[in-house]
Every structure is written in C-alpha cells, then in structure tokens.
C-alpha cells in the first residue's frame, strides 16, 4: 500500500532498506549464533545518518519524529529484529532526553546520539518490578548537589554498549511511584557496573544486561523533568516508543512473509510449486493482510503522535499489541509453510519466530497494553457521559 511518503521519508526508507539488505541480512545469522552486539552495523547506521531522523534539527538531527523512526525500524527489522534493536533501543533512551531534557542535557547528548557516535538505553525493569513498575527498588538519594544511586536494573537492551542511560529511580521511596525520578547516568560513572549478559531465546544480536548501581554518585543536573516525575517520564516515553516496537514486529513479520512467499514458489511437491495450493495461498493471504493492517495502524498512529495528538497512550498501545500479535502469528505460519526447513536453524524463519516473541513482552507486555487500552476506553466513555 502506498503511504504517500514525502520525498525525504522515501529517502529514509530506501536507505534503511539498502542497509538492511546489503549489510544486515548477510550477517544476521552469524550475530544470532554468536549472540554478539552488532557494533559494525551501529557504525553503518550512524554514517548513514539514520539516528538523526527523529532528533530535532537544532541538535544535529533531521527533525523527523516517531513516523520516521518507525520507517527505519521496520526496514532494519525485515533483515534482523535483533540487530534493529540496537537502533530502536537507542531511540527508547533518546526519546526522554528529547521530551524532558534541559537545554544543557540536550546539547551535551543529542548531537553525539544523532551521529551514532554513542547510543542510548532506557532502564526501568528490575528483578521484582516488571509489569508492576511501581515496585522498583532502585533508589537515588539526594545528597547536596548529587544523587547517590543504589539498586539493580534488569534485562536492559543495549546494556553495556550504550553510553548514556535513562534510569528510573526512587528519589523519595516513601511516596512510591510519586517519588520516582528519571536520571541520566553515563557509562563509566564510578559505582555503575554491568552485570551478566543474558542468554536469550531471540533478538540475540543485541546485548541485554543487568545494570548494577552501588553508591553511584551523579550530579543533580542529570535529573530529567522534576523529582517525582519519573513514571510520567517513562509513560510519555513509552507512548512514543511503542509504535517503534510495533514497527519492529511488522518488519520481522514482513521478512518472514517474504521468505514464505519465495519458498512457496520454489518448493515443489506433488509436481507443483506449493504456492499453487490454496492451503498455502490462504495462509499467505492472511499473513499479508494482517501485516498491512498492522502497518496501516502503526504508521497512522505515528503520524498522529507527531502531529501533536493528546492522550496517545491508548492508540500507542494498540499499535504494539496488534503488530506484535501479528508478528507472532505470521512468523509461526512462515515456519509452518517452510515445514521441516522452517524448523532448521540454517533457514531464516525460525529465528524470526524467536525474534518476534519478545515484541509481545517488552516495553509493557501485551496484557498490560490491553489494560491500558481498556482503561482508556472506559475513561473516555465515562467522560462522554458527563
């Protein structure tokens, strides 16, 4: 479907696609096997200016928004959902700086993030705080001009490879979620160490690590927004980042569909290509339809967000929940169409199925997303009644 991209958006999409096809696809399998962070690709993405697309022009970006980020994430994810995460997770770390950073913070970090010289990460999840984000225990105790951070963050994408981390902490544990604050922590700050690298099912071309803070002292100027607004920062960030996860899911699904279509025209059984069987055609048709629906929803929501629509939590959650469920379904069907080959690690679709799974889980599980959608739906209805 033609999404009537501007000339600039078309350029972004084409360049991301070129990098995906020429640079990422040939090495996707290798990074999945080795479970390594794709530093060489980050360099390529930086040189191509792709990190600039959603950063404001005053900070050496190209002034686009969520929409442009989605275009890039989808194209990269077509080749490898894991490697694309080096891009998308940096976006998740960059968004709070764009939304809530002071002029000084923006000047300090955004130009380097725009060039890809450094990448970012976002840290909320803890061992005992997943969907129940209010249960975080990491504290940032105010002390003179500084905060002293203690605690452990878990499963942080780009962990160890990012240079700047937006960390959600409690500056006033007595107030619970209302005592939370978002603080920027540079890699290399004394008292900030990385824990073990996780061994994962999918998205293995990205490093996921623990962040360990032990009396880590950061200046108060590293605070984003205000004390007590940590959760607000996180939620507003997710509102903008979820379409990115949706696009990651769509990209993975599209990659799987492309493989399935190609395979079905090449694979002969009973003397015919299997694409000539309706059983296969119908599966392909459903896969394609679901992907297009997910893409249409996601890109329209991204446009709405960029255009300044208020209260986007509901529609933002819809993109993620819908697209990630589509990705899981489509990749599973792709494995089915490839049959025994689909199950083999030598062929790309089993990896896509493994990569797709995380999109239903991270940045808020799909159960939480549905709760967000449901709550907003009820709120809106009650408001109308008044």
């Amino acid at each position: 479907m033609n999404y009537f991209l501007t000339e600039e958006q078309q350029m972004i999409k084409e360049l991301a696609a070129k990098i995906a096809d020429e640079k990422i696809r040939p090495i996707a399998h290798e990074y999945d096997e080795k479970e390594e962070f794709p530093a060489e690709i980050v360099k390529v993405l930086g040189q191509a200016d792709l990190y600039r697309v959603f950063i404001p022009e005053e900070y050496e970006g190209l002034g686009g928004g969520v929409f442009e980020m989605c275009l890039v994430v989808e194209e990269l994810s077509r080749a490898c959902g894991g490697i694309a995460l080096a891009y998308a997770a940096s976006g998740l770390g960059i968004i709070p700086i764009i939304l809530f950073g002071t002029e000084e913070q923006k000047k300090k970090y955004l130009p380097k993030l725009a060039s890809g010289e450094i990448i970012a990460a976002f840290a909320l999840t803890e061992p005992d705080a997943g969907s129940d984000a209010g249960a975080i225990k990491t504290t940032a105790k105010p002390e003179g001009d500084s905060y002293i951070i203690n605690g452990t963050k878990q499963w942080i994408s780009n962990g160890g490879d990012a240079s700047i981390y937006t960390v959600i902490t409690l500056t006033d544990p007595s107030r619970g979620a209302r005592g939370s604050s978002a603080i920027l922590v540079d890699k290399g700050t004394p008292g900030f160490e990385f824990g073990k690298k996780e061994e994962k099912m999918g998205i293995r071309g990205n490093s996921t690590r623990e962040l360990i803070f032990q009396d880590c002292k950061v200046p108060k100027t590293n605070l984003l927004a205000k004390e007590g607004m940590g959760f607000m920062v996180a939620m507003k960030t997710f509102d903008q980042s979820r379409p990115g996860v949706a696009s990651q899911a769509i990209g993975i699904a599209q990659g799987a569909l492309d493989e399935a279509v190609r395979y079905s025209t090449e694979r002969h059984q009973f003397g015919k290509p299997i694409s000539s069987f309706q059983a296969i055609q119908f599966m392909l048709a459903d896969m394609a339809t679901q992907i297009e629906a997910a893409r249409a929803l996601t890109l329209q929501v991204a446009r709405s967000i960029d255009a300044g629509e208020k209260n986007v939590a509901k529609i933002s959650s819809m993109t993620k929940v819908f697209a990630s469920d589509v990705a899981m379904k489509v990749t599973t069907d792709a494995v089915q169409i490839l049959g025994g080959y689909g199950y083999m690690r030598e062929y790309p679709v089993e990896k896509m199925m493994r990569d797709a799974k995380i999109t239903q889980i991270y940045e808020g599980t799909n159960q939480i997303q549905r709760e967000v959608i449901g709550m907003n739906l009820i709120k809106e209805t009650l408001r109308k009644k008044k």
């Binding site: 360049l15 600039r52 190209l62």
Partner: protein
C-alpha cells in the same frame, strides 16, 4: 589535494538479457548505474580527501540523465559535480572521450589526482584512463589496488595489480590512476549526503564551455567505427550427465579424452 573522479553511467549489465528473436539487448527495465569500478574510484577519492584534505570533483560525459549518477556521487561524499553534455559529444570512441574529459579536467584546473575505475562494464576497454593522461601530458598508472601514501614532496606510493602478483610504484603528482575493486569497500550514501545531492547544482558544460577543437569531439573525433554488432553464437548444446556420480565422472573423462584432452591417468576409464 584537488581530486577529479571520472565516472561513467552504464546499464547494469548483470541484468542485461538478449532478445533471442531480434538478437539485441533488452534494455527495458535495465537500470542505469554508476560504473561499478568507478564507485571504487569515488570512494578512494573521498578517502584521500578525508586523509589529506581537499576537494573531490566528479566529472562525467554523457547525455543529461547522467545527472542522476553525479548526484549519487555527491551523496557518497564528492563535493562538486561536472557534466559534459552536448550533442556533438555523442558517438565518441575512447580517443574522443578522453579528449573531451581532459578538456573538462583542464577547466576544473589545478588537479593533483585523477581517479577512475579500471574499465567500464559496458565497453570493457580500460583505455580512457591512459588516454586522458596522454591528453594532459601526465603519467598514469592502471589497476591500482592500494594508494599507500602521498608525501609532502608530491610523491605518491602505489600498489599495482599484475597478472602474477603486484608491484609497488612511486610517481609524482599529478597522475591518472585507475583502480581495481580490491582497493576499498565503497560506503553507502548518508541521508545528509542524499539531501545535499538533491539540492546540489551540477555544473553542466557544453562543447562551447570548454576549450576544444570541435573536430576532435564525438563521432567526428573518433577514428574507430563500429561496423557491426552481433550476439556471439551460442555454444552448441553441451552434454550433461545427471546420473550416478561415479558413472558421470567416468563418462566426462572419456569425452575429454575423445577431444584429445588428457586429465589424469588412463586408468580413470572404468
């Protein structure tokens, strides 16, 4: 360092197919690309600029649509682009092409290094580089796989690929260098580069804009003349063995022997 990279726009011949009925190239849907060897020359020019400073000028001769290739070169890091385009340039063989390009290079002026690919994938001649050098009365070195360094005295150190190995050479600037693909891995364009390329003004020169003897241009200035174009005869249907492998190999060796070619011992015949 003032660098000129000469590029040619060519059809992507990996896509070229022959129409078996008319025996001609099917050009429909065949994309025009920067001659792949020239892409290495552009990259090398940009790398030299990054290392030694200076300007990378891309220069091409051809019809107006070459504009797209020059813009692509800008997106890949070239600074200025020049297109020599004029109906009188058409039909040029390598001699007339080199003559015209040399006129363009003279007009750009004060050039230290002229880079180009070792040959174009449509013509496959590889003659334009040396002929440009001759027109400019400067040395040339072909098939360069590495530019080692350029020193303060204007000496350039190079590695030239040969059939049986390579030679390391030293010569003086200015020089014409043709490169092989081993020399580097061309970068992808950047978004900023692409946006810049879109807006960039391409300097377009006609025959009147450069100092030339009109009689040396295009078809008129070309001593060679193509008198016939034809498709090479297809090889007669080969023999393909698709049975048992041991059997196939035996049959193959027997066939070769029948053609007077001996591979290995007679005992191979089972």
């Amino acid at each position: 360092m003032n660098i000129v990279v000469c590029i040619k726009q060519v059809p992507d011949t990996t896509d070229v197919k022959i129409n078996p009925e008319t025996n001609t190239l099917i050009r429909e849907g065949v994309e025009s690309i920067i001659n792949p060897f020239d892409a290495y020359a552009i990259e090398e020019g940009v790398r030299l600029k990054e290392k030694y400073g200076g300007t990378v000028n891309v220069l091409s001769m051809g019809p107006p649509q070459v504009d797209a290739s020059l813009r692509e070169a800008i997106s890949l890091g070239a600074d200025e682009a020049y297109l020599l385009t004029d109906r009188t340039f058409a039909g040029a063989d390598t001699l007339a092409t080199a003559y015209t390009l040399a006129a363009g290079i003279r007009k750009i002026g004060d050039v230290d290094i002229i880079l180009m690919g070792r040959q174009a994938i449509d013509g496959d001649t590889g003659q334009v580089g040396p002929e440009v050098a001759e027109n400019l009365d400067i040395p040339h070195v072909t098939d360069i796989r590495k530019i080692e360094q350029i020193d303060d005295q204007g000496s350039i150190y190079l590695e030239r690929l040969l059939e049986e190995g390579y030679v390391r050479l030293k010569t003086k600037l200015p020089v014409v260098i043709t490169v092989v693909k081993e020399i580097n891995e061309p970068r992808l364009p950047s978004l900023k580069g692409k946006m810049l390329a879109k807006k960039k003004e391409i300097n377009t020169w006609s025959a009147k804009d450069v100092e030339v003897n009109e009689k040396r241009l295009g078809l008129t200035g070309s001593p060679t003349q193509v008198v016939k174009i034809f498709t090479p005869p297809k090889p007669a249907g080969g023999k393909v063995f698709d049975g048992d492998i041991k059997d196939s190999v035996g049959k193959l060796l027997r066939e070769l022997r029948a053609s007077g070619i001996l591979m290995g011992s007679e005992k191979g015949d089972e």
